[in-house]
Symmetry: C2
Amino acid sequence: MSDAPSSGTIWGLGLGPGDPDLMSLRADRLLRGVRHVAYFRKPGRQGHARAIVDGILRRDVVEIAMEYPVTTEIPVADPAYNARLAPFYAECAERLAALAVGGEDVVVLCEGDPFFYGSFMHLHTRLAARVSVRVVPAITGMSAAWTATGLPVTWGDDVLTVLPATLPEAELARRIADTDALVVMKIGRNLPKLRAALSQAGKLERAWIVQYASMAVEKVARLEETGEEPVPYFSIVVVHGQGRRP
Amino acid sequence: MSDAPSSGTIWGLGLGPGDPDLMSLRADRLLRGVRHVAYFRKPGRQGHARAIVDGILRRDVVEIAMEYPVTTEIPVADPAYNARLAPFYAECAERLAALAVGGEDVVVLCEGDPFFYGSFMHLHTRLAARVSVRVVPAITGMSAAWTATGLPVTWGDDVLTVLPATLPEAELARRIADTDALVVMKIGRNLPKLRAALSQAGKLERAWIVQYASMAVEKVARLEETGEEPVPYFSIVVVHGQGRRP
């Protein structure tokens, strides 16, 4: 940014869990004012993040849809996955950096909180040394999920562990047994494995599953009472802590 | 709520980490409209939660300051602590329930997210079966803290562990060694113990400490570069995960 007194800023803008009413005042104000809005999506979809801001953006907004070249077709552990995604993120970063250097602000829409398992991090790491990047935190999907269960998640000295369900079953079971409160993310097709790990750790009967937390189609259930039907990747499992309570 | 078609609702309203601009649209709207606002505070103080909403409340707002009979004078593990707090929470719950039964809505101001180590939970557990209680999630202090460090906290399959620094040193050290990303809350006078535990786990050099996250007086530093001076109870320590990144 040596010659950049008039350079723009790239905003990693957290939108929260999905209900537009749960966006921050700052996010709302930035969205209503900004000219360039970028977001990730699967090819051919509208994109979750874009859906949250429907009706808020300027009429003359310029939209930059960044379409993933691959999502679930290649397992993430396969080197081919990173080989496809790395150049994609680099290309997206170039495009946004060029706008910022040209003096434009760009808002990148982020579901949840940008620095908490967010895709924006892959742009941030490629942009932060080159242009002005600012991040607006947001309500996480897990906050919306435990709120949806109607029960506090952590009390007193409770330990909270957040696990991706992508981990091996034995590791899931070990960590689930060793925590007071639990949140599990990235569920989708990992649900049968997660169910087995919860059962092994003796906590299946205390587990809740929340789909589409905070959205109109939100579904909250005890995991034991749900069937084998598939659940979205962004479902969240919660086991509440039982710590000190006066 | 048998005879309660006209009963009011008690709102556990998350205000977020401290910057009023990070409140949700829903929180802002509820605060501007509601007549009864309750909040916890230490005797003789304004109260952190109340300070966040300064200038937002109705002119004719009725404020209900709920003053803790005890905060740090008695160790939380001492039975005398619960013996003092339990009747206090019961009395507060009575007072709010009476308002709700009388048809009034009451907003209870909550720093951070109400169901995440929040004091509101002690009212919720006493009220939820008697009157209508609703909770609005919010941006947690930890989201504001990791955002303040300018670095993503969790990548790919990272495990995140949230620990209260009130735990014994050996347990802190064991859990710090066994996680990818780390957040530690409830710090204050536990900082020397936490520092020792981080060092034992080989992670002291990766630890950041954030004071007053998101507020005008926010302070962000590497823990190794900070001295022995006291830090606020609500300081947050962050160790960032190093997981998969294309």
